[in-house]
């Protein structure tokens, strides 16, 4: 490859590829614009051209054929292996006309108040949690808290105590306030490393680390009475299992959770909820139930707002075109290309 060819090839790549190439090569590359980034990469590559080119070609190959990051797992495939959502060739633009902005903005507004009716998945989850461990994986804002509250209520009515954990202290505080309002302040307590508020209450809110420590103390004989009557452990935001630093705490908590207590894992949408459920089944006394769905209760639409204030739909379709990232609205596409061209740092000839 000549330098010109290399430069041209680099220019054709999305910025993401350039950033991945720059990692470990160019310091603080994330602040450079596309043009500047290409310059820096070219400069760098003069020292090890072969390695650089082969990395570039691998990255391009990956993009074209490789696993799409957001695709679902084949059963039995090793973690990390993904299958294609849709092969590229089938990702052709649909022929029907793209939505208009007016259509896109339609339906905006406040719905009339409706009586509260449980969602089917909430009913399913609540029925299951009285018998066994449950993993819930549903989109953000679906109403997982409702399941947590109802499950806690039932366990408490049964004279069993409940522990609710969240990954963040701030969330714990919010939930503590929320639960206190619902169940009455005497029924809810909070535990932090150095402080207990109403520590003997039947419903205890804490961070997952604190619960893990409690379980270790219980395992080594310093039995905490509450664990005998513990009926339900709710782990909110369980997708933290994948957190590089803290994920291990969720695993420890689940491994050491007393067998008589039911586990209720609440998680946002994740790629392999079935694996989590299968794992629980393999180590716990009763088979774990998985409750999942990926449909949002309030439908989502995506838009593109140009810096000059112009708003257009982002995709051709009204909703999000699942599995078709390429179905962009022509106007959004046009505006974004214009944006990219205009924001390239000047000083070099524009193509």
């Amino acid at each position: 490859m000549t330098t010109d060819e290399l430069e041209k090839l680099l220019a054709q790549q999305p910025v993401a590829v350039l950033h991945r190439l720059a990692r470990g090569r160019v310091q603080r590359h994330f602040r450079a614009g596309k043009r500047r980034l290409i310059e820096l990469l070219l400069q760098h590559s003069s020292q090890n051209r072969a390695g650089f080119e082969s990395d570039l070609l691998t990255l391009i190959g990956e993009r074209q054929s490789g696993p799409t990051p957001g695709s679902s797992r084949r059963p039995g495939a090793p973690p990390g292996a993904h299958k294609h959502v849709a092969p590229r060739s089938s990702d052709t633009e649909p022929s029907d006309p793209p939505v208009s902005l007016t259509e896109w903005l339609q339906g905006l507004g406040v719905p009339a108040p409706q009586p509260f009716v449980q969602d089917p998945w909430q009913v399913e989850a609540l029925a299951a949690v009285s018998e066994t461990d449950v993993v819930i994986s549903v989109p953000t804002g679906s109403g997982k808290t409702y399941v947590a509250i109802e499950a806690a209520r039932r366990a408490m009515e049964d004279n069993r105590s409940v522990i609710y954990t969240s990954p963040l202290k701030a969330l714990s505080n919010t939930k503590y306030a929320e639960f206190s309002k619902i169940f009455g302040p005497d029924k809810v307590g909070i535990l932090t490393g150095d402080r207990q508020e109403n520590g003997q209450a039947p419903l205890l809110v804490m961070t997952t680390e604190i619960l893990r420590n409690l379980l270790y103390d219980a395992a080594s004989g310093e039995i905490d009475v509450r664990l005998d009557t513990l009926g339900l452990v709710i782990l909110d935001e369980s997708q933290y299992l994948a957190d590089p630093e803290r994920g291990v705490v969720w695993e420890e908590t689940i491994i050491f959770c007393p067998s008589q207590a039911r586990l209720l894992l609440l998680s946002a949408s994740i790629g392999n909820p079935q694996d989590i459920a299968d794992w629980l089944t393999s180590i716990r006394a009763t088979p774990c139930r998985l409750v999942r769905h990926s449909k949002r209760t309030v439908p989502l639409r995506a838009g593109y707002l140009h810096p000059n204030g112009r708003l257009t739909p982002l995709f051709r379709t009204l909703g999000i075109p699942q599995g078709h990232p390429g179905h962009l609205h022509p106007e959004a596409k046009h505006l974004f290309i214009e944006y990219e061209e205009e924001t390239l740092p000047s000083g070099r000839a524009r193509r």
Partner: protein, 619 residues
């Protein structure tokens, strides 16, 4: 065209299209603060009804959390109905903003993407301005899960028919990351299980060593390792089937040996064409009489140094190393036995046909040869004639020459050996996958034994008994410091300061000029110990400025929160988190009441001293 939309224009555009309330996710805290400042001179004022509503709502929060009463952002939030919400703020302020948002008093909140999971309030619209996120000092692309978590805040149940995720570009945005994130499936969770020292101590406290492997096997990590192992096992099964045509399985170990055997034969064959004149049993031997081969004569044994053919002689000749380093020349016919034993003997071009080193080694090896040596089975291809008894006997040890699948084996040797190598590789990987956690556990055990927390029989020592209660990062460093009596006699402020420097993992700069001599010398000691422990545990950042800040807060009860904030460039929220983390560390030290009463008391004292002002308002 500006590189990104002006915050005032953004909010106006959202308002005009009735897309408020909105959460605007920005790259950094600074971007959030600057967005708020952008409203300073803008003609952007809420009707007084709404201003009053905000004031009333804030009053209710203030009743519970008085620390926000003086918050500098209150006037602007009230005036414009827009607020910022990020980790630089005090938790109480964030609670206030969340409350305002939940009650619908705000049009927009500027928030950082880093805290997307902690933003537990919905809006009608979410505005996304970037495609990457700062993670441990570098920017990485948002994952599909993260994009969906962010976009998912849009659309409040019961308050919206639809939610809107609006992308507005800023420099360095990669639109495809966002479109793929929005339209794709979230990523699969991959276990991040690690084995820490406190985990080992606590496991061994509660369970006998032989049960631990079973406990580790319950981890999600092992579950996923098993999944991988199963995939490999399937491959292994497929390999077994593929290898079936390559002869009986039992002899597969011989393939490699046969290959060498065969190779030597062929190799020599080309270099030393055998002549018709030589009898078949001699001709069959020639390929094996290569340098390094042990042979027997009627009297004594020797090692072949070279094989040659000189002019005028009918037979091939050998140069042989005999006992006592004698070198003799003899015809091939004088060789009585060819043994199944060779030594490394690279040929050289001049007498004695190998290097002096090799010569010395071979002489030595010849001396050391055992009395009995296996014979090399040599198949003499004389049609019709029966094989000599000796050869038939030794063939039992070396099956290839008589093996029925020999020709297939020879033909497919390369394929078979490749399959076999693959098989070995998979078997090894499976083994590693099944036992890797256990090995990592054992490694930790060895370190803990070395430092005296565990006995050789993996019982907790007296030191291990208390050390297992320290279940935080840098636990080894902390317990070693305690054992080195680094904290003995240290007052609560010094202890808190040191623990703060261990607890703080942020590299954001914060200035604090004065460091007391006591703290400085103790920090030096900690740093030295941390360095010496670095093969076993990653050393902490050990920032002196944060240590000094916390020491000051504990040592001087008259210092107000505002006063403390003035001492540093750190944001309020960061100071709060620093103190909260220090509290966590102190509370672990506090549990050492029985073994280290003085230290525990000092920690308890530090805890009460830290908990004042804003730090008292939340559990």
């Amino acid at each position: 065209m500006p590189p990104s939309i002006h915050p005032v224009d953004l909010i106006s555009a959202l308002r005009q299209k009735h897309l408020t309330p909105a959460i605007v996710f920005l790259t950094s805290r600074r971007a959030c603060d600057e967005a708020m400042e952008a409203f300073d001179h803008a003609n952007f004022v809420l009707p007084s009804v709404r201003q009053d509503a905000i004031a009333k709502a804030l009053e209710r929060v203030m009743a519970q959390h008085p620390s926000i009463a003086e918050h500098p952002l209150i006037p602007i939030v009230q005036r414009i109905g827009v607020a910022a919400h990020h980790a630089g703020h005090l938790p109480t302020w964030k609670i206030a903003v969340e409350e305002l948002m939940r009650q619908g008093h705000l049009d927009a909140v500027f928030a950082t993407t880093t805290l997307a999971a902690g933003v537990d309030f919905p809006a009608r619209t979410v505005v996304i301005t970037q495609s990457s996120i700062r993670k441990s000092r570098d920017f990485t692309d948002l994952t599909a899960g993260e994009v969906q978590q962010i976009a998912g805040r849009a659309g409040r149940r019961g308050k919206d028919h639809v939610g809107f995720a609006v992308i507005t570009p800023s420099p360095y945005i990669d639109l495809s990351v966002l479109t793929k994130g929005l339209t794709g499936q979230p990523e699969a969770i991959d276990s991040q299980f690690t084995i820490s020292y406190p985990m080992v101590l606590n496991l061994l406290k509660a369970h006998p060593h032989e049960h631990i492997q079973g406990i580790l096997a319950k981890s999600f990590a092992q579950f996923q390792l098993n999944q991988r192992a199963e995939v490999l096992e399937q491959k292994l099964d497929a390999l077994h089937i593929k290898m079936e045509p390559f002869g009986p399985r039992v002899c597969t170990d011989w393939i490699t040996q046969w290959h060498t055997f065969d190779h030597a034969r062929r190799h020599r064959h080309t270099r030393h064409p055998t002549y018709r004149t030589e009898p078949p049993e001699i001709a069959a031997r020639l390929p094996f009489l290569t340098p390094g081969r042990v042979v027997g004569f009627s009297r004594g044994r020797g090692i072949v140094l070279r094989q040659y053919r000189s002019k005028g002689q009918r037979n091939s000749m050998l140069t042989v190393l005999r006992l006592e380093s004698a070198v003799t020349e003899c015809p091939v016919t004088s060789v009585k036995e060819v043994y199944d034993r060779t030594y490394d003997c690279p040929e050289t071009s001049a007498y004695p046909w190998c290097s002096t080193d090799t010569f010395d080694r071979l002489s030595h090896q010849l001396d050391e040869l055992p009395l009995r040596l296996p014979l090399l089975p040599i198949l003499v291809s004389t049609d019709g004639e029966p094989l000599p008894d000796a050869v038939v006997q030794s063939l039992e040890d070396f099956p290839c020459p008589t093996c029925s699948s020999r020709s297939a084996c020879q033909k497919d040797f390369l394929t078979a050996s490749r399959l076999r190598q693959e098989q070995q590789r998979h078997t090894k990987s499976i083994q590693a996958l099944r036992t890797s956690l256990w090995h990592r556990f054992q490694e930790r055990v060895e370190v803990l034994q070395k430092f005296g927390y565990l006995t050789l029989t993996t019982q907790l020592t007296a030191e291990g008994e208390w050390a297992r209660l320290i279940r935080i990062d840098h636990s080894l460093l902390i317990t070693e410091l305690i054992r080195a009596e680094a904290f003995t006699g240290a007052d609560p402020s010094l202890l808190a300061g040191i623990l703060a420097s261990l607890a703080h993992d942020d590299d954001r700069p914060g200035a604090f000029p004065r460091i007391t001599p006591g703290l400085s010398s103790l920090l030096g000691q900690v740093r030295k110990l941390a360095e010496s422990l670095s093969p076993y545990e990653d050393p902490p950042l050990l920032r002196a400025d944060v240590a000094a800040l916390v020491e000051r807060w504990v040592a001087d009860p008259s210092l107000t929160w505002i006063g403390l904030c003035r001492l540093t460039t750190m944001a309020e929220g960061d100071i709060y988190r620093l103190l909260a983390r220090t509290l966590e560390y102190l509370s672990q030290v506090q549990t050492l009441k029985t073994t280290h009463p003085g230290l525990a008391e000092s920690a308890a004292h530090a805890i009460t001293l830290i908990r004042r002002g804003v730090l008292e308002e939340l559990p």
